[in-house]
């Protein structure tokens, strides 16, 4: 996959976990060859047979992002997104890898479907598409997925996302398998009996609007149960899309106790609140729901203090005809890949380095992708990099969206931080914010 053409990134700030430094980055044979200040003088100009040059002035150079939570909709819902269109959105968002959620049709509960997704990802060739698999067959919560077969085929992440695993017996058994196979279960925490018919956060807004509410306790109860199961089984557990202040508190306690848990937050949960629903716009219907400012602030604190490990998009495309329904009928979910960085830098209150940790280094570790992703920009490492301007202010417009669906909640909202270049295996695939031919 490596390109023979060498690439020289000049004038940017290299940000690694160890610190940041103004440096040029020389890439050849798909690998970072050299990182250092003013090394560009050593190389011939591009028009004299030298390397392809990228001007990274006022930009950050770091490892490409990793999304732990992407709904690519293929197979089964190709009217909303395909692996190809989702890959385009991902790479424009600065991602080098995305974890494909398994709630496809058919669901990713067999080696065959998982391999299909992986293959389609390779065919699109823009990001590493990393299939996750279901915890239970067809996410129905009744029968365990074939964990041994799936793990043998390289699947490390398992989730019934869209549903929480309701039955404690099933969950306990799944954790026993997770422990023996050293795989990670990712829970969508929602006690479904408490959220029947719900369309938005249960609180003042829902009470006023007469909309069936989604109480915070539905998330908190399952999270508590699972923490106890982790304590008992020792299995690794990742909590998807934390949305309540109490959830952050529980995960913080669990980590202090040394439990092997990690957690993610979506850009929308730390930037938007349930007040958005007062216009009844289905774009803002999402699961878990947008909650209150108090929750938003707790999530931001959790990101800042390390309780929350990762920003994950929960990118959930839905075709216009699906969202053009009433609030009860419209499916939950919103786009996220192309706006995640802009939301993170504008709304998280985190430093640039912390945002990179949340979007690249930590998720790469959680997904077990460090062979290719989330590594330091240093000589000898595979060149999967992103170059972004952390200060650029922008607004998302419909024309920018390359997803097949357009259900973004960020139209007209100020964002900060724009992806300029993405390098994959040493090859420049996003150039000045557009996908290179």
């Amino acid at each position: 996959m490596s390109s023979n053409k060498s690439v020289l990134i000049t004038g940017g700030t290299v940000v690694n976990a160890s610190g940041e430094v103004l440096a040029d980055v020389m890439i050849d044979q798909g690998v970072v060859q050299e990182v250092g200040p003013n090394i560009s003088a050593k190389y011939a100009a591009e028009n004299k047979g030298g390397p392809q040059r990228i001007d990274a002035a006022s930009c950050v150079i770091t490892s490409a992002f990793v999304d732990l939570h992407t709904h690519l909709r293929e197979p089964g819902r190709e009217e909303s997104e395909t692996i190809e269109t989702g890959s385009r959105a991902a790479v424009l968002g600065g991602y080098g890898a995305v974890v494909a959620m398994p709630n496809t049709e058919p669901a990713q509960d067999s080696v065959a479907v998982v391999e299909f997704v992986r293959m389609q990802g390779e065919r699109a060739g823009l990001v590493d598409v990393v299939p996750s698999a279901c915890i239970t067959v067809n996410r129905a919560g009744l029968q365990l997925s074939p964990f041994h077969s799936l793990a043998q085929n390289g699947v490390t992440l398992y989730t019934d996302d869209g549903n929480g695993v309701q039955d404690p017996v099933i969950m306990r058994r799944a954790m026993e398998y997770a422990k023996e196979l050293n795989i990670t279960l990712m829970q969508h925490c929602e006690v479904s009996r408490l959220t029947e018919g719900a369309v938005m956060h249960e609180g003042c807004c829902s009470s006023h609007l007469g909309l069936p509410g989604w109480p915070s306790i539905a998330e908190v109860l399952m999270l508590q149960r699972d923490l106890e199961l982790v304590r008992e089984t020792g299995a690794k557990m990742h909590f998807l899309h934390l949305s309540t202040a109490r959830s952050v508190e529980l995960v913080r306690q669990a980590k202090n106790e040394g439990l092997p848990v990690t957690a993610e937050v979506t850009p929308h949960h730390f930037s938007l609140t349930d007040e958005k629903l007062t216009g009844f716009n289905t774009v803002f219907k999402v699961n878990p729901p947008l909650r209150t400012m108090e929750d938003v602030e707790a999530l931001r604190t959790g990101m800042q203090d390390g309780t929350i490990d990762a920003i994950a998009t929960d990118h959930a495309p839905h075709a216009a005809h699906l969202k053009d329904q009433d609030l009860l009928a419209a499916p939950p979910g919103m786009l996220g890949l192309q706006s995640a960085l802009g939301v993170a830098l504008k709304y998280s209150g985190c430093s640039v380095q912390r945002v990179i940790d949340l979007m690249s280094w930590a998720p790469a570790r959680i997904a077990g992708l460090t062979a290719r992703q989330g590594n330091a920009v240093a000589s000898g490492n595979i060149a999967n990099l992103v170059v972004f301007n952390p200060a650029a202010q922008w607004e998302q417009s419909l024309e920018q969206i390359v997803s097949k669906s357009h259900n973004t909640p960020y139209l007209g909202l100020p964002l900060q931080g724009q992806v300029q270049y993405v390098v994959r295996d040493g090859k420049v695939i996003v150039e000045a914010g557009v996908i290179a031919k």
């Binding site: 006023h208 007469g210 069936p212 053009d324 009860l328």
Partner: protein, 326 residues
Amino acid sequence: MKHLLSMDDLSLGELQQLLSLADEMSEIQKRSQPKVPALRHKTVASLFFEDSTRTRLSFETAAKRLSADTMTFSAASSSVNKGESLRDTVETLSAMGVDAFVVRHKTAGLPLAMTQWTDAHIVNAGDGAHQHPTQALLDAFTLTRALEMGNSLAGVRIAMVGDIRHSRVARSTVRAFVLLGAQVTLVAPASLLPPSLIYSNATHTSHEWPVSISHHLDEVLGEVDVVYLLRMQHERMNAAFISSVGEYALHFGLTPKRMAKLPHNFKLMHPGPMNHGVEIGVDPALVPGSLITQQVTNGVSIRMAVLLSLLGPAATSEMTKEERNV
């Protein structure tokens, strides 16, 4: 006023204007020929995705008395269930030249969404548990006229009893009563109140309910002028909102014994249809202060007033009756 979507959108002045206009409409209704040409050549379509023959007929009667053409679209016979999106349906119907849609839907906010899909006027005839503004208007009209208080309810003490949580009537009528100066007490078990009123962690400023709350009907009966009963639905047992309708009736139903505790000239209201033996254990025909029949009659006058102020020839309060063609 382009649409009537929510009582939250109405100022006190607009509310009072509609009440006054409804007086004129009820005059028309008393005529031997209760019909005026005010809305001739206008088309009013009722779009009922949820069954409510009463409300639909009330609107259609109102439209016909103003000489509007009417058409009816009910969900059962529609293509909405066959994959055509709601938006397509609305766009198709408005292409047929509809001037106003009267819409009833199980989902809160759908009438507001429709304003994006058509240039026609939208009248919300009930959206989920959100709003039912014409009910609020007819309730306000009925009560102010019964108490002969003009366009005010200043100081009137009203107990609204029942399933507030799931009630669009409560969300709209409480607002109308409070705007007119009434003191409203919501009476219900905590499970049937909106969550924001029972959970202290759900504090918020912008969506306040300016009401008092009681969980004991017997404690408020001696201190109210009006009892407004809401319909109790049997399905509420399924999600454990109540133990049984019997238990509910025992503690929150209006029984003969409770009636005896009320001031003798108290007024009784109910949005209908009634569940006899549940929220109401007395024969309303035998309650001298019952306004339940007037509520139905006034429904047509109020809906005429609403349609006229949305569709009428620049129907402002300054216009004379002749100019309005009534």
